[in-house]
Each structure stands twice: as C-alpha cells, then as structure tokens.
C-alpha cells in the first residue's frame, strides 16, 4: 500500500511491454467489454465514497457480471485436462487449463409456432480474437426457487425446467499495486443460498486454490469474496500478448508467401485487454461459464 501511495498510478501505457494497464486504459477496456458484452456493467462505490481508485470516474469503479452458471466443480475436470498448456517462461507460472473447454451450451429459442421439441443446443465455436466479431454473452437463468404458494394463488407459476446450477457474480477491479485487473467472486448455491468459502474453492482449479485464491473484503461492497491474487497477472498477460503477436506474424508471413496478402494490423490493444484477461482467468475458474466472448489460441 505504502509502495503504491509513494509511486502513484502509472500514467503511460505499459500494456505491450509489461502487460500492465493505466487506470484510464482499464476504464477504456471496461467500456469496450460493457459495449460488446451487455451482461457486464460498471458499478460505483455503494456509499458514493472515493474509495481506492481516485483516478477513475466515480461511477466506473468496478465491473460486474452476475449470474454466471457453474454446473460442474473444478475437481470434476480431473482426467479431462488434455487441453493444458504451460505458458513459457516460468515453471511456477500460469497454466492455461482446458484450452479446448467450450462454454456450456445455450439453448436456442424455438419459434412459439413450432410444435417441435427443444432445438438441440449449439456450442460456441472457438475462433480468433477479433474486435469486430465478438459474440455476445447469453446465459440462461433458472428459476429453481419456488416463490409463491400456488395453492393460494392459482394464477402463479414457478418454472422449473432448467437444470439447477451454482451461480457466480464476477467483479473485476483495477489493482493499484500490480496495475492489472483483479477478479473477485461471489457464489450462490442451486437454491440461491450464498456459498461458503470452502464451497467456492471447489470451483477454483486446485493448482490455484491454494496459491492465488484468497478471501478478501471487496473495497466497495464490503462483502467478503474470493479473490484471485493479481501478482502474476501482468507477466501472464504479457506472455499471452507475445504468443498472439507471434501467431499474427506467422500468419502474415504465410500470406505473403501465398497469393493473398491482407496485411492486417496486430489487433491487440489495451482496450481489448479485458477479453484477454478473462480468457486466462477462465483457466483458474474453468467451470464458471462467463466467457462467451472469444477464444484465443495461445498454444
């Protein structure tokens, strides 16, 4: 804290060099995320106080996505780890788990006039990260909790047709000390009851649950939440950027050798950083289905 107070926030971009963000870049990346994925929204401090992010607008202190489904526990994925990729540079570094993991299936809305049964679910197709081609999030919500006594009110319905699942609220804050985004999680059980810390650890990949996931007080809501410590976020982001740049340069070289040459510019910029960030956070919380935005091939 003292270090950050002494040094202050960074003011010039270090995203491509160090994987770090200025507060302004974080706000720009958050705006992009909210624009492309309306399930996310900006929140300000609940009590209107300044809080710890004075360089950011009062109404844009942190990002929230509520109700992300989590149908399986992280431990259930044991034996399903074929997609793991160790990111280069550090044996103790981040592992990109479940590279091939695809977000859970979302039912399509059948026509009301169709008599057909439910349309088979369609899985999201992995694709290159492309700013103009980011599919939006779309999550179904269940209504597993009975809310009224149907005997007393014959006109009341309590739908119970969707598979019950845990739900997570995901908060992203700017970390003043590492200059990176930081994730906080809050979970709810299948009947809507808040999950205990131990229960939430079940949804964090075991390699990280003991290392980087801790219980912290959310600086704006005051609630205790599971937080993924951001000490390695910047270097992981940097490695992902380098991988993407490498892949881009290889593709450009291949196109030059061939007949076509599109000469596309490298598309990763600070305002895309949260898409990249959410991609690698999905390796920590592999069963929480929030990442419908894009797939980034870093292998």
């Amino acid at each position: 804290k003292a270090y950050s107070t002494f040094v202050g926030p960074i003011t010039s971009t270090r995203f491509m060099e160090k994987g770090q963000l200025t507060p302004e870049e974080f706000v720009g990346a958050g705006d992009k995320l909210v624009d492309k994925c309306p399930s996310w929204k900006w929140c300000g401090a609940a009590d209107g106080k300044e809080g710890v992010h004075k360089a950011m607008p009062k109404e844009k202190r942190f990002l929230v996505m509520s109700g992300a489904r989590c149908e399986r526990r992280a431990g259930d994925l044991t034996g399903d780890m074929g997609g793991d990729v160790e990111l280069e540079g550090d044996e103790e570094g981040w592992t990109c788990t479940h590279k091939d993991h695809v977000a859970s299936k979302v039912e399509e809305m059948p026509s009301m006039d169709d008599d057909a049964a439910a349309v088979p679910a369609k899985a999201a197709e992995p694709e290159e990260l492309d700013e103009d081609d980011i599919p939006d999030m779309d999550m179904d919500m269940d209504a597993e909790v009975a809310v009224v006594d149907e005997d007393e009110d014959p006109a009341a319905v309590c739908t119970n047709t969707v598979v019950p699942a845990r739900r997570y609220d995901i908060h992203i804050l700017y970390d003043n000390y590492t200059y990176t985004p930081r994730v906080y999680l809050n979970g709810y059980g299948e009947t809507g009851e808040p999950l205990s810390n131990e229960a939430m650890y079940e949804d964090i990949y075991s390699d990280y649950a003991d290392k980087t996931a801790t219980i912290e007080t959310h600086p704006y809501t005051g609630a205790s939440m599971v937080s993924i410590h951001p000490c390695r976020h910047a270097e992981t982001m940097k490695r992902m950027i380098d991988k993407l740049r490498e892949a881009h340069e290889t593709r450009i070289a291949a196109e030059k050798d061939g007949a076509s040459s599109s000469e596309q510019e490298f598309g990763i910029s600070p305002d895309m950083s949260l898409f990249l960030f959410l991609k690698f956070i999905s390796s920590v919380i592999p069963t929480i289905d929030y990442d419908f935005t894009a797939s980034v091939d870093i292998s």
Binding site: V34, P38, S39, K41, W42, C43, G44, A46, D47, G48, E59, V64, S66, G67, V106, E107, M109, S111, M112, D113, A118, P135, D136, M137, D138, M139, D140, M141, D142, A143, V145, V147, V148, D149, E152, D153, P154, A155, A156, V157, C158, T159, T161, V162, D169, N186, Y188, G192, E193, P194, S196, I215, E216, T217, Y220, T221, G222, A223, S224, M225
Partner: protein
C-alpha cells in the same frame, strides 16, 4: 382461451445487499424500523424457459445505476430490531395495506406516469449483527380478480409469426431508438406500441403515460391498434411474467379494457428482441376493489448466514 398464469417475480437479495444493510443499520438506520427505499435490478429474459431474478445488490441503496440491458424496480426494505418483531409481522395486514396503496396508484392513474408502481416490492428483514445472519420475507403485491373474472389468455406466439403486431426487425429498430439514454421508455419496463396505419412505418413506441390523454383506449386495445409492451423477466414459452397481472387489472380499471394484447419483450445479446412473444388477454367483467384479492408473498426462505465469510479485521474496524 384458457385461464392465464404468470411467472412469479420475487426480490433476490445478494450478499452485497446484506453487507450494505449491515453497514446502514450500524451507521444510519440504528434503531429505526422505518421503510427505506431500495432499487431492484432485472433483465429481460435471455433464453427460453428462463426467469431472470430481481436482484438487490450493493447498489440498491444508492441512486440506481442500471446497466445497458438492465431495468429497475422500486421497493422498500423494513429492517426490524429484533427477531421477535420480525416473526410477529402480520403478513395479511401488511399485504392488505400494500394492496390498498397499489389500488390507489391504479385508481389515480399514477401508474401511467410511473409504470414501476405496478411491480413495486417490499422486503422485511431482521439483521442479526452479532451472528451475521439475515432473515427476510418479501412481497410483490398483486391485485387478482375473482375466479369468475379470471384473466384468460390466448396461446403465446413469437413476434416472427404472421399475425404478430410487429415484425422482429421493426421491433428491434423501434426498441433501439426507444431504449437509448434519452429514449422515451428508458427503464420504465412498460410502454405502448401504437399502430396508426396499416404499414410498418406507422408503428411507434410510446410511454404508457401517453394513454392518459387519449380517448377510446379500450377500443384501440381490443382491436389491436394499441399493444402494451412489457420488459419481461420470464422467458417461458407458455406464459408471461408477474408484471403483466397488475397491468391488466390497471388497464381494466382506468379504461374499462377487457381485451388487451400484450407483447412480452425478451432480449438477448445474440438474438436481440427477436425472441419476444405476444398473447391476447381477456377479462370477464370490469373489476371492483372489493372483488380484488391481494396475493404476492414470497415463500419463506431460510435465513442467510454470512458468518463464515465475514472479514474479522473489517468488523473490528467498523465496530471500533
């Protein structure tokens, strides 16, 4: 036509809401058991057979800051000082009082200017500050007509059906224009779709308040020249959400409307509003207050126990 049923819509207080309530109880509310205004947030249904929750969050006590695809509901929280007071809550009397207030809003047409009065909610709680356990009950008062006049509904159809009052593409265009920051129906949750002529260009969205200065509303509603649109948290294929119930009764009271076509607006980021549905509702007779029955209590839920996740250092700091 069959007896219409509606998906219940109850407040869902989140952990941040209880954390804020605890702070407010210590620093602001203290021993006051007066009702405090709060805001609930909900989304239009994003996929079939889903029901979005009416969430109470850490922001519920502050000025509402709804996201781009979020809508707000008005409510109150009444926090009792003891568990005995909470348990002694007279649910029948409380509901009767809330129903009277709702009826007054319908009778005075106040709901036309503020449609959110039709889906106001109330939370009654006891916050055990020592154990960090939160007890609560919630109600969204509904005025239900007597059985003889039960609301009946036609089968629901997609807006892509041939007889739809508006095509999905046209509805999307109108909705994009209307839901903007300065749009006429921003966050109201209920509004109108008018069809002044026969073609798509004659369709327009308007706030519900535009009905107050209009004549022949019941006829226009009955003939489908006027359609009422509701941002619906319920995505079911067979029925609509709770909000429609009070709306139908209110339109019956204000304009004598006995046949109303309702467009249930559902909105996903992938399909836009193309998954919206419509249905026609009928009521047997004009309803009187004495015939309306109040319902809407949420089923009692177990208390929320946050003792395992409360931060000791924060508590020590705050209690000092």
């Amino acid at each position: 036509m069959s007896a219409a049923r509606f998906e219940a819509f109850a407040p869902f207080p989140k952990v941040e809401f209880w954390a804020q309530l605890e702070k407010k109880k210590i620093h602001e509310m203290r021993l006051s058991a007066a009702s405090v205004p709060v805001t609930g947030f909900f989304k239009a249904a994003r996929s079939p057979n889903c029901v979005e929750k009416l969430e109470l969050t850490g922001e519920s006590f502050a000025a509402p800051n709804a996201g781009a695809y979020e809508y707000t509901a008005q409510g109150t929280v009444t926090n009792f000082n003891t568990i005995e007071e909470f348990r002694a809550l007279d649910t029948k009397k409380t509901l009767a009082g809330l129903a009277d207030a709702l009826y007054a809003d319908m009778e005075s047409n106040a709901y036309l200017a503020n449609p959110r009065l039709l889906f106001a909610f109330h939370v009654f709680s006891f916050a055990d500050l020592k154990a960090h356990v939160f007890h609560s009950r919630a109600v969204m008062p509904i005025l239900s007509p007597p059985p003889a006049d039960l609301i009946k509904s036609s089968p629901q159809h997609s807006v892509s059906a041939a007889k739809s009052p508006v095509s999905p593409a046209r509805l999307q265009t109108l909705w994009n224009d209307a839901r903007g920051v300065d749009g006429p129906v921003r966050h109201d949750g209920i509004f109108c779709l008018r069809n002044a002529g026969g073609d798509a260009d004659a369709l327009a969205l308007a706030p519900l308040s535009s009905l107050s200065a209009e004549e022949g509303v019941a006829e226009a509603l009955g003939e489908g020249r006027l359609v009422v649109c509701v941002v619906d948290a319920c995505g079911a294929k067979t029925h609509m959400g709770w909000i429609v119930r009070n709306l139908l009764v209110a339109l019956n009271m204000s304009f004598g409307a006995r046949r109303v076509t309702v467009l249930s607006l559902r909105e996903s980021s992938a399909a836009g509003v193309a998954d919206s549905v419509f249905a026609t509702f009928t009521m047997g007779a004009n309803v009187a207050r004495s015939a309306l029955r109040a319902v809407g209590w949420d089923a009692e839920k177990p208390p929320v126990d946050l003792s395992s996740s409360m931060d000791p250092s924060l508590l020590a700091k705050e209690s000092a």
